[in-house]
């Protein structure tokens, strides 16, 4: 509840379970093709590059860079604590896929495109939301 209200929750299913629960073991799990190496996000049961079905979630380092961001000032729901940063993070191992996330642990004015960040999970009732913090 770092932003004052519970986060909207995904419904866990066979495709997304590894992503949303991997943080329980400290791991950011991203889907990858075992044949051509393509990273896939959102997760799906077939590789969008080669159509291989040899696709499985795989841990990544959790390091990345801020591809873009916005400082959100609008309380889209009652109780939402603003302002906060919504960002799109490019992962170190997979620069062509992005995670929408929040940048936490620093003032909103300290966030810039290109900043190096690392994952910091926030748990609410069994879902591990992958948020990101700036590297120090």
């Amino acid at each position: 509840m770092s932003l004052g209200v519970p986060r909207p929750r995904p419904r866990l299913d066979r495709d997304n379970r590894a992503f949303w629960t991997g943080g329980g073991e400290g791991k950011l799990m991203i889907c990858r093709c075992g044949d051509c190496g393509q990273w896939l996000h959102p997760p799906q049961p077939v590789c969008r590059a080669c159509w291989s079905e040899n696709v499985a979630p795989q841990p990544v380092s959790g390091r990345g860079t801020i591809d873009s961001f916005t400082v959100n000032h609008q309380p889209w729901m009652p109780g939402l604590a603003v302002p906060f940063v919504i960002a799109r993070v490019a992962l170190e191992e997979a620069p062509a896929i992005y995670l929408t996330t929040n940048i936490v642990g620093c003032p909103v004015e300290d966030v810039a495109v290109g900043d190096a960040v690392h994952v910091a999970f926030e748990e609410e009732d069994g879902i591990f939301f992958p948020l990101f913090e700036k590297d120090t």
Binding site: P8, R11, P42, T70, W76, M77, Y98, T100, V113
Partner: protein
């Protein structure tokens, strides 16, 4: 007029307002009546219907009236119809109608978009908001981080443009200032007054770099465009506007996975399908659900280079009514109201016919481009006056 071609032969619009009481089906009827009278057609001559996004029971305000609803309620006898969200943005419905009349499946297609978000939010009894349940599908990748509104998604495209190409808020502001200036000359626009730069920069931020005036607002209205076959032009009375080319694309269904806006590939594809080019555009009606969108259309259509759109609009003179490329002459969605794409087709026809009144661009424009969509989804229409 050429056989095998498609034309816009009638346009109509309901009252445009916020929290209107009038039933959304009746708003649609108002726009249909006006368009039929404009075209000189009778209801029994309509044999096709198209809309975007069609039935959406969980978002009644977003799409309160479907093609099936219109056919049923107005007693139309159609031979072709369509409604859906899985297409290349809003104007994809008009593009599909053009293909239908070219293929001989229909002679006169009623294309409409009715929006009722403001009224629906004010009346949750009749228009219950979507139930908050566990997320499935695409929204699960953004909503858990409170990236709930498209404002937050498009804002990130805009931030990227600022970081890569040096766009400033001063440059961005020209879109909203131009929209309000033009809307003040459009008697049907939601906005009645021009906007000062002081007021713009004093406004509260929604999602940086977007302030209040960079985002369209929920509107209640219906917009209609009638698309007719070249073979059927002797049945209409309005000066026909040719749909000279259409294009559309969706780069990625996930808005946060796209590398570039859909306007880039769509703009390129539009010119590949006709003998016109960016220098031929006399009047531009570019989707402005958020102020950044028109900048990407200027770039995608090759009016300027990629990463140069913000410099093209700097100072606002080029895009003014008397500028080299008049933009969003009726006020766009930021000024005229969130008609959700169809307003750009409507205003293109107004300008090409020379019916713009106080907002008519000089020089008797012959070529217009209307666009819709945002982020990775895009659609464009090239509209020309032949006579």
């Amino acid at each position: 007029m050429a056989r095998g071609e498609a034309y816009i032969t009638g346009i109509g619009m309901s009252e445009v307002g916020v929290r209107l009481d009038r039933h959304p089906l009746l708003l649609t009827l108002d726009a249909v009546r006006e368009a039929l009278a404009d075209a000189g057609l009778k209801p029994e001559q309509i044999d096709g219907v198209a809309t975007y996004p069609g039935k959406m029971p969980s978002f009644l305000g977003f799409s309160p009236v479907s093609s099936d609803d219109v056919i049923e309620a107005l007693g139309l006898s159609t031979r072709w119809h369509l409604g859906g969200a899985e297409m290349t943005a809003q104007l994809g419905a008009i593009s599909a109608a053009a293909m239908a009349v070219k293929a001989g499946r229909a002679r006169h297609v009623l294309c409409f978009r009715t929006v009722y978000e403001a009224a629906a939010m004010a009346n949750p009894t009749d228009y219950p908001p979507p139930r908050r349940t566990e997320l499935t599908g695409a929204s699960q990748w953004t909503a858990p981080f409170f990236a709930i509104s498209a404002a937050t998604w498009v804002a990130q495209y805009a931030t990227r443009h600022m970081a890569r190409y040096g766009m400033t808020r001063e440059q961005l502001s020209e879109i909203a200032l131009n929209a309000h200036r033009n809307a003040a000359r459009n008697p049907r626009a939601l906005v009645k007054e021009p906007l000062s730069a002081e007021k713009y920069f004093f406004a509260r931020m929604i999602s940086s770099p977007f302030c209040l005036y960079d985002c369209d607002r929920f509107t209640d209205a219906s917009t209609v465009v009638i698309v007719s076959a070249g073979e059927a032009l002797d049945e209409v009375t309005a000066p026909p506007i040719r749909i000279a080319a259409t294009a559309g694309s969706v780069e990625r269904y996930s808005w946060d996975q796209a590398e570039w806006p859909g306007s880039y590939p769509t703009g390129k594809a539009l010119w590949e399908r006709c003998d016109y080019g960016p220098d031929d555009i006399d009047v531009a009606q570019f989707y402005d659900g958020f102020a950044f969108h028109p900048i990407t259309w200027l770039e995608g259509l090759g009016v300027c280079g990629i990463g140069e759109g913000h410099r093209f609009i700097e100072g606002g003179t080029r895009i003014a009514l008397d500028g080299e490329l008049p933009l969003n002459t009726g006020g766009g969605q930021l000024g005229a109201g969130r008609l959700h794409g169809f307003g750009f087709a409507h205003e293109s026809v107004v300008q090409l016919r020379g019916e713009g009144g106080a907002r008519q661009v000089p020089g008797s424009p012959r070529v217009a481009v209307a666009t819709s969509g945002g982020g990775p989804m895009a659609a464009a229409l090239l509209l020309t006056r032949e006579s």
